[in-house]
């Protein structure tokens, strides 16, 4: 299938400042693309470029197989939901939703019919005569979605739509957006700085930093095989443990030495990699360090570690140990008996490990 959105070599400058550098992304119909990154990474600018609200300095944007690089926003067959919702304050909810159709000269009968459909879908029928000022945050959010849905566009664009909601409502709306995506089979591009939102919603994630694409992939790829240290650290909560280690050749595999304060180095054997430089950074997610005996498999290796801190979090208990000069978090089951100052056997699942070059930050395995 032809990509529904195809961005090639996109460059965006503000004067001499490069905001976006050589972006290449393509998605298929039905994809949910999430642009994620820390604030100031250019993700919202990229979305505005896709919408045509910002002119681009180089490259091309094609939507639905048509080159849209120099087409105005209204002709791109897109709909957009904004962070502040951007509802028209003096218009009723119904007028807000039908404004676009009115501008495009859709006849009144079709307008009313589409309005009714969307209002039913979003359960905002009771609100149609109200003004945006009389709505709660969640209701405004729905109206903003309604304004986008009523267009039935090729591409939905979301600019951090949930960041103004409180935590509980955010989770609710998140699953509603997901449901909407599944029911409509629509193609969506979604900007967020929240990596959990990115993981839960996306079929494809683009991680951006400083206007440069760090990695493009499915949530699982990004989570399990981060392309560099930045992605490894940014995605996942608590963050991936990144431990400086010494690697030495040992038969067919590698011997991994992790320095420990006041004790013998912790030694692990990884038989899955054949070649590593001497200094590497080992990345292991907290859930890949378990209590000894709770994780089995050929790549699991156990070692006794001194526990510095125990953080019960309800469903899990996080224990922190000091390895290789870093705090290393392990995610254990809730009933663990770990106590600070005591030794505890931890199982390291080397099947899930990532290695990074300390200087470049690039992935090595």
């Amino acid at each position: 299938m032809a990509p529904i959105l195809d961005i090639q070599n996109l460059v965006k400058n503000y004067g001499a400042v490069e905001i976006l550098k050589n972006i290449n992304v393509a998605i298929e119909p039905g994809d949910f693309l999430v642009l994620v990154g820390p604030s100031g990474c250019g993700k919202s600018t990229l979305l505005n470029c896709i919408a045509g609200l910002e002119p681009i300095s180089g490259g091309t944007i094609a939507i639905g197989g048509r080159d849209m690089t120099h087409v105005s926003p209204k002709d791109r067959d897109i709909a957009m939901v904004f962070q502040s919702y951007a509802l028209y304050p003096t218009m009723s909810v119904a007028k807000n939703i039908t404004f676009g159709m009115k501008v495009r000269g859709v006849d009144a009968e079709t307008q009313a019919q589409k309005l009714a459909e969307v209002a039913k879908q979003l359960q905002i029928e009771a609100l149609l005569d109200r003004r945006p000022g009389q709505l709660s945050g969640g209701q405004r959010q729905r109206v903003a979605m309604g304004r986008a849905l009523v267009r039935d566009p090729k591409l939905f664009l979301f600019d951090e739509p949930l960041s103004n909601l409180d935590a509980k409502l955010r989770v609710e709306m998140r699953s509603e957006i997901k449901k909407l995506h599944q029911n409509l089979g629509a193609t969506m591009v979604y900007v967020t700085h929240d990596q959990i939102e990115a993981m839960t919603l996306a079929t494809k994630i683009v991680v951006l930093k400083g206007g440069v694409v760090q990695q493009i992939g499915t949530p699982a790829e990004i989570y399990n095989r981060p392309a560099n240290l930045f992605v490894a650290d940014f995605m996942g909560s608590p963050a991936m443990n990144l431990i400086p280690v010494k690697a030495r050749k040992n038969g067919a595999g590698m011997k991994i030495e992790i320095a420990r304060q006041g004790a013998e180095p912790l030694v692990l054997h990884d038989t899955r990699v054949a070649e590593l430089p001497e200094d590497v950074i080992l990345g292991l997610r907290p859930e890949d360090i378990a209590e000894a005996g709770y994780r089995a498999g050929e790549n699991v290796q156990t070692a006794d570690c001194l526990i510095d801190m125990v953080e019960p979090a309800g469903a899990d208990t996080y224990v922190v140990s000091h390895l290789g000069g870093k705090q290393v978090t392990a995610r254990l089951h809730a009933e663990t008996v770990a106590a600070p100052g005591q030794m505890l056997g931890l199982a390291f699942d080397l099947g899930k490990v990532s290695y990074f070059a300390p200087q470049t930050g690039e992935r090595l395995n």
Binding site: K74, Q83, A86, Y88, G133
Partner: protein
């Protein structure tokens, strides 16, 4: 501090009441002082000349007569003509209304562009317009007279409208720009995605939002233009003079007995429209603010 007894707080209450009384007394005195000239104007305009000559300045009129008002409106002499204020009053009306409307509309458009459709140099242009607000009237008199002459508008009411519109744009732009700059830019973006263009967004989204600032601008501009004397006296000729100029002529060109009652009535007539606009629109302004549903 911790054990404030009952009697003590009672004492404080008395002090409080006394202070209140003093405050109201003082405010009442100030109000009386401030209203005194108006009182004198109104009572004097209702007296006959005879009574003015013989009675006290602050006394109530013995026989109320509206003769002075009639004279001021349609009989008083400005120089050689004796038509009263009436023709000049209408001059002011047909001068002030278009000038207020045009300058408000241009100000709204300017403010909209400068705050929401930023272009290179937008801030510079805005600063220059602000600068225009602080240029004294006297400085522009000669260049403006030359300008009006070249445009063939010298001594006409359209010429005066032109002058007031030009001079008002600085202020109206300032008002609207400061109002629109608080409106999030995403609103324009959303409307653009919805397919609306420059004027559609202005007309359907920004103007309906602007009621409070429109009222402020109209009050300001109407007061300025109606009360203007300098431009009126400089750029008009017999027959096109605004009411302020005519008032001056009535007061200054009488011969023989000074008709204080006519002067006072004329002054009140000339001041009534601004008072009227303020009372009507000012009330609307407060309602617009307290409705509170303006912001999204």
């Amino acid at each position: 501090m911790t054990d404030l007894g009952f009697p003590q707080s009672q004492g404080r209450n008395w002090g409080h009441v006394a202070l209140r009384c003093l405050l109201f007394l003082l405010l009442g005195l100030f109000a009386l002082f401030y209203l005194m000239p108006l009182f004198v104007m109104v009572t004097t305009s209702l007296k006959s000349l005879e009574e003015i000559r013989t009675g006290s300045l602050v006394a109530f009129p013995r026989d109320v007569t509206f003769e002075a008002w009639r004279t001021a409106w349609s009989g008083a002499c400005t120089g050689i003509q004796c038509e009263g204020l009436r023709p000049y009053f209408w001059n002011s009306v047909i001068l002030a209304i278009p000038a207020v409307l045009i300058s408000t509309l241009i100000g709204a458009l300017n403010g909209y562009v400068i705050s929401q459709w930023k272009f290179r140099g937008a801030n510079l242009i805005f600063s220059l317009m602000l600068f225009g607000c602080f240029i004294p009237f006297q400085v522009v008199l000669l260049p403006m007279a030359r300008m009006l002459g070249l445009m063939g508008l010298a001594g006409t009411i359209p010429g005066l409208i032109f002058v007031h519109v030009i001079y008002g744009i600085g202020f109206t732009t300032l008002f609207f720009r400061n109002y629109y700059v608080t409106i999030p830019a995403e609103l324009v973006k959303a409307a653009k995605v919805d397919g609306a263009g420059f004027f559609r967004i202005f007309w359907s989204i920004f103007l309906p939002l602007s009621l409070p600032i429109i009222v402020v601008t109209v009050i300001w501009q109407f007061t300025q233009i109606w009360n203007d004397f300098l431009f009126g006296v400089s750029f008009s000729q017999a027959g096109t003079q605004p009411v302020t100029v005519a008032l001056n002529n009535i007061v200054n060109s009488t011969t023989g007995v000074k008709e204080y009652n006519v002067d006072m009535a004329a002054a009140i007539i000339a001041a009534l429209p601004t008072l009227f606009v303020y009372v009507v629109a000012g009330n609307y302004f407060i309602r617009g603010l307290t409705a509170g549903s303006v912001k999204g």
